[in-house]
């Protein structure tokens, strides 16, 4: 992830230094002159990282899927998962991903109110998600269903916890991006980082779609 927040001198490779209007057409003309613009190279590299992150999640998911029935006589998903909580978590993350997109539009259109407002909304919704998840974990551990109870629960905590860690790291990154735009303005290098952040945040929501459907909903579905 840190690869996306590296400091770039800005526009050396024929990228965005000259981009004042931030127009797409402008980057296209530059591209034909100097090869792909820095914005495309950075975002594409980050996209490759995100795909490897998805592969990481799929490995954790595969181990969960294999171990779902290995409850060692302990509680199953049907005993533990509470769908109303999961619904609220899902709503939080879905709305936050939309606000994250609106923040990107606000940054491209140089609308401060839209950018800061949407980023703040994204942060509040993301933080709510993490808080609900931590509360869920605490309740389960308190009830004796911690990760040490069974292989099923170890895999569950590893998978959901890994996603929660990603969201928490994303929240820190989000605050950094708000501070960077405040301190440095909508410079091309800052906007590249914003693009990477948006990609990261949207990808986390895509991972959550798989988790709430295939872990929680399948977990409580009648067999």
């Amino acid at each position: 992830m840190s690869a996306g927040v590296e400091a770039y001198p800005g526009g050396v490779a024929g990228g965005g230094l000259a981009t004042v209007g931030g127009g797409h057409a402008q980057s296209l003309t530059e591209e034909s002159a100097h090869g792909p613009s820095k914005r495309i190279v950075v975002a594409y590299g980050f996209w490759i990282f995100l795909i490897s992150d998805i592969i990481l999640f799929s490995a954790l998911f595969a181990s969960y899927a294999v171990l779902t029935d290995a409850t060692a006589g302990g509680p199953t998903g049907r005993d533990l998962f509470e769908l109303p909580t999961v619904a609220v978590e899902t709503a939080c993350l879905l709305l936050s991903t939309v606000f994250c997109g609106l923040a990107g539009i606000g940054a491209q259109a140089r609308r401060n109110a839209m950018y800061y407002g949407s980023m703040a909304a994204t942060f509040v919704l993301g933080a709510t998600f993490v808080a609900i998840e931590l509360h869920e974990f605490a309740t389960m551990i308190h009830a004796g269903a911690g990760p040490d109870r069974s292989a099923f629960l170890s895999a569950f905590f590893a998978l959901i916890g890994c996603h929660g860690l990603h969201v928490s790291a994303g929240l820190l990154w989000l605050l950094t991006m708000m501070a960077q735009v405040y301190a440095k303005g909508y410079r091309p290098d800052i906007r590249r980082r914003l693009l990477c952040f948006a990609l990261f945040w949207h990808t986390l929501d895509i991972v959550w779609v798989a988790l709430f459907s295939l872990v929680y909903l399948v977990g409580v579905a009648p067999k």
Binding site: A43, Y44, L83, A87, H202, L214, L217
Partner: protein
């Protein structure tokens, strides 16, 4: 899906190359960009609600519920990829699509490969209690 593709793209000069993953297709048109996210939100909400409803209802034949939920999840991920990540099937997006396709291949190999091997092991390995019983 075709409504999210702007007409102006076809009128671009020959020189168009790639676009970055996540980039707005038409960044200067703010209302249009917002509308894209709202369409995505509506579709994602609809699919989420159906998933939550199906998981608890008797509407669907019960053994097929996991499959139905998987299909709905894949559909929703597609909605996210198109409306939020702006990864479309356009010619300027081909590199992004190829990277994603390769990632999906690895994901499928990992998940289905693990499940396949482990269920076979499950079937072929005798439970430890039975084994102990036979040794007596």
């Amino acid at each position: 899906m075709s409504t999210s593709l702007p007409e102006s793209r076809t009128s671009l000069p020959e020189a168009h190359g790639d676009i970055a993953p996540g980039d707005e297709i038409e960044p200067t048109d703010v209302p249009r960009a917002i509308r894209g996210y709202l369409i995505g939100l509506a579709l994602a909400t609809l699919l989420t609600c159906i998933s939550f409803y199906i998981a608890r209802s008797t509407l669907v034949w019960q053994p097929s519920i996991p499959i139905a939920l998987s299909v709905l999840a894949i559909a929703q991920m597609g909605v996210h990829v198109i409306f939020f990540l702006h990864i479309t099937s356009g010619p300027d997006n081909i590199n992004n699509i190829m990277a994603l396709a390769f990632g999906l291949l690895i994901v499928m190999l990992l998940v289905f490969g693990s499940l396949w091997i482990m269920t076979h092991l499950d079937h072929n390995v005798m439970p430890i209690e039975r084994l102990m019983h036979m040794q007596r």
